[in-house]
């Protein structure tokens, strides 16, 4: 008899919900290094994994943690690590390896105030750009931003499925506030949870080309020990997986790594809209700050101001087209985030007309309150009048 996931209704810590979500998604290898405010994920997994036959290993640092999960995934184990800003910085090189080798895995970044050691115990949302641009070179990534403990569970499962479908590292860009929040989490029966696994080779070893993509641009993955004798290298490689240090091979490979996400982005991108239909003011936010933005919408509506919320669930790939479409109907966009305006910059990139986009920003350590968002909007409206 094997252990079962915690089906039922719980009052649960966000970090713990993330850990349980990983188990529900089939994750059976976790390599990590303690770092506030992500440590509770490792603690949860270290207690739960043995019952499921999973392996938790506390590594000597985050470089090792990231390398180990890529290695384990090459052997067929669904793998995850969890960290915060300083650890994320150390993981980026091997996240790039996972991108290049096309190895599915999940990285949780419970963001805190930064840069450097910053505010270890306090909230931040400043690693948005790092996830997309932090590892060297051009690549596409998928990053989710949970705004509740329930989403810590649900999006962790989705992150694993996405990683398996596209053979990519997927980042869960959560924050200290959600990670340390305790609220209701409903865990369904195991049979109701959709779990997706990577595509296996459909030809014998002598015909197998490890990096020959299917129509969806994703190649089929042979695991170690299956007799396919794969060679994987972080060097630019051809369909055989062999190094090919030419501009042509590089263009072909990196273009496909970008396209496999970009061309499937309609399937990947997730967001939530609240009262955007008739909104004149569009609030954009994500993670814990989206909850303040939602409350701000309610306050503004009560006062007769037509506000709506667009909540990013996927941050990467960024929903430029959707935001452009919404921007045609509004007269003001307000982006609230606990950084100096990282997503605001992406919103500006999305627009095709001149439209005011104001930011409500704090640099870390404190949540943005609904009142602060409301005041900033009113102040702006007053100036304009």
């Amino acid at each position: 008899m094997s252990a079962k996931i915690l089906t039922g209704t719980h009052y649960m810590l966000g970090d713990h919900a993330c850990g349980e979500g990983a188990i529900a998604a089939g994750c059976r290898f976790f390599a990590g290094y303690p770092i506030t405010p992500s440590t509770e994920i490792a603690e949860w997994i270290s207690a739960r994994f043995p019952k499921f036959g999973g392996v938790f290993i506390q590594m000597e640092d985050e470089l090792a943690s990231m390398a180990a999960i890529v290695g384990a995934s090459c052997g067929g184990l669904k793998s995850m690590t969890a960290t915060s800003g300083p650890g994320m910085s150390l993981m980026l090189e091997n996240m790039g390896l996972a991108v290049m080798l096309e190895v599915p895995c999940v990285i949780v970044n419970v963001q805190r105030g930064a840069p450097s050691t910053g505010l270890p115990t306090l909230v931040g949302q400043g690693d948005i750009m790092q996830a997309k641009w932090g590892s060297h070179g051009d690549y596409e990534i998928v990053a989710y931003s949970p705004a509740s403990c329930q989403e810590m569970f649900d999006l962790t499962i989705l992150a694993f499925n996405t990683a398996e479908i596209y053979r990519i590292p997927v980042v869960i860009l959560t924050d200290e506030a959600v990670g340390h929040l305790r609220e209701k989490v409903v865990i369904p029966d195991e049979s109701e949870i959709e779990v997706v696994n990577r595509k296996k080779p459909n030809v014998p070893p002598e015909e197998y080309l490890p990096y020959l993509p299917d129509d969806d641009l994703v190649p089929r993955m042979a695991l170690a020990g299956e007799g396919y004798f794969v060679h994987m290298t972080g060097l630019t490689h051809d369909e055989r997986g062999y190094p090919n240090i030419t501009a042509e091979a590089h263009e072909r490979l990196v273009r496909r790594l970008i396209d496999k996400i970009q061309k499937n982005k309609d399937k990947i991108i997730k967001y939530e809209e609240v009262q955007t239909d008739d909104a004149e003011i569009l609030l954009i936010s994500y993670g814990i700050t989206a909850r303040s933005s939602l409350k701000a919408v309610h306050i503004l509506r009560k006062e007769g101001i037509k506000a709506g919320l667009f909540r990013l669930i996927t941050i990467w790939p960024f929903p430029y087209e959707k935001i452009e479409e919404l921007s045609r109907r509004v007269s003001l966009i307000v982006v609230s985030e606990i950084n100096s305006g990282q997503v605001r910059g992406e919103v500006l990139k999305a627009l095709k007309r001149d439209l005011p986009v104001i930011g409500v920003n704090k640099l870390g350590g404190d949540l943005i309150t609904p009142q602060e968002i409301v005041e900033k909007i009113k102040e702006y409206l007053k100036i304009r009048v």
Binding site: M1, G71, G76, L77, L97
Partner: protein
């Protein structure tokens, strides 16, 4: 008239080699071919199925071995083959996971992972080819470069002290530690075979000539000259305390042999036992 059928001549090791990757990138006189070849003979003599072997390497000349051997092989990032191999071994405990990389990769940038894998007595075979310099980048000094040796970044002579790798491995907790040169292919093969048959962390240092990167600036000569030095100055001292395992290319001795062989439960043995106990308590 007799019809002559041209028979394709296959090398005994050809099933282990990705022949479509030939020729290799290594310089003439380099010891890497011998080191790789000796490992493949060890596989062959133990009648190992290539499906059971995985090779993990990092970056550098030695790191290229992973690309030439026809087994599941992973050419990872600089310094990280050890943790990558740890993940792979957890996923595939039945496979023989071998780290085959250089001194710069395993000991300099990857040194922390190396000592921790040894401390854990993690079930891996770590073969480190030591050529005393960074060959791939053109011959810079590293943590194994002898005192006073000249490299492109120590043009006036190296003033850092080098690591003694077997001593480092043994102190950190490796349960099998050996050192051979590229000349000692018989003994090296026996040590690799021994490592392939045991659990826990096995470390084998292979001293290799690098005539291009290290031999030339230090006037050691060609690869063959360095091999001659190995022949004259190597002393086999099995079982000695590795801290006394002298290594000199500047007139002193090269102490080789199997220095450590300890029976101690391995990481995976303990882990599996613990997990089983926890699972049983649950039911």
């Amino acid at each position: 008239m007799e019809v002559q059928v041209k028979k394709e001549i296959k090398h005994r090791l050809s099933k282990w080699i990705r022949e479509d990757r030939w020729p290799h990138i290594w310089c003439s006189g380099c010891g890497l071919g011998i080191a790789m070849n000796t490992m493949l003979y060890a596989f062959e003599e133990l009648n190992i199925d290539p499906k059971e072997v995985a090779i993990v390497s990092g970056i550098g000349c030695t790191g290229r071995v992973a690309g030439y051997v026809k087994v599941d092989s992973y050419h990872t990032t600089h310094g990280r083959p050890v943790p990558f191999a740890i993940g792979l071994k957890v996923a595939k405990p039945e496979m023989k996971v071998i780290i085959f990389s250089g001194d710069g990769d395993i000991i300099a940038i990857g040194g922390n992972h190396f000592i921790h894998a040894a401390r854990r007595n993690f079930d891996l075979i770590c073969i480190c080819v030591n050529n005393f310099n960074y060959g791939m980048t053109g011959g810079q000094f590293g943590p194994t470069t002898p005192y006073k040796a000249k490299t492109t970044t120590t043009p006036y002579g190296n003033f850092e002290y080098p690591f003694n790798l077997p001593y480092l491995a043994a102190s950190a907790g490796a349960t099998f530690v050996a050192r051979w040169t590229c000349l000692h292919t018989y003994y090296l093969r026996q040590s690799i075979k021994k490592a392939l048959k045991r659990k826990g962390f096995s470390f084998i240092e292979i001293i290799s000539p690098c005539p291009t990167g290290f031999g030339r600036p230090n006037k050691i000569g060609e690869g063959l000259d360095e091999m001659r030095y190995y022949k004259e100055k190597s002393i086999i001292k099995n079982g000695i305390d590795p801290k006394d395992a002298e290594l000199s290319l500047m007139g002193g001795n090269i102490i080789v042999g199997e220095f450590v062989e300890i029976d101690k439960p391995s990481y995976l043995e303990i882990l599996m036992e613990n997990n089983e106990r926890i699972r049983r308590a649950e039911i």
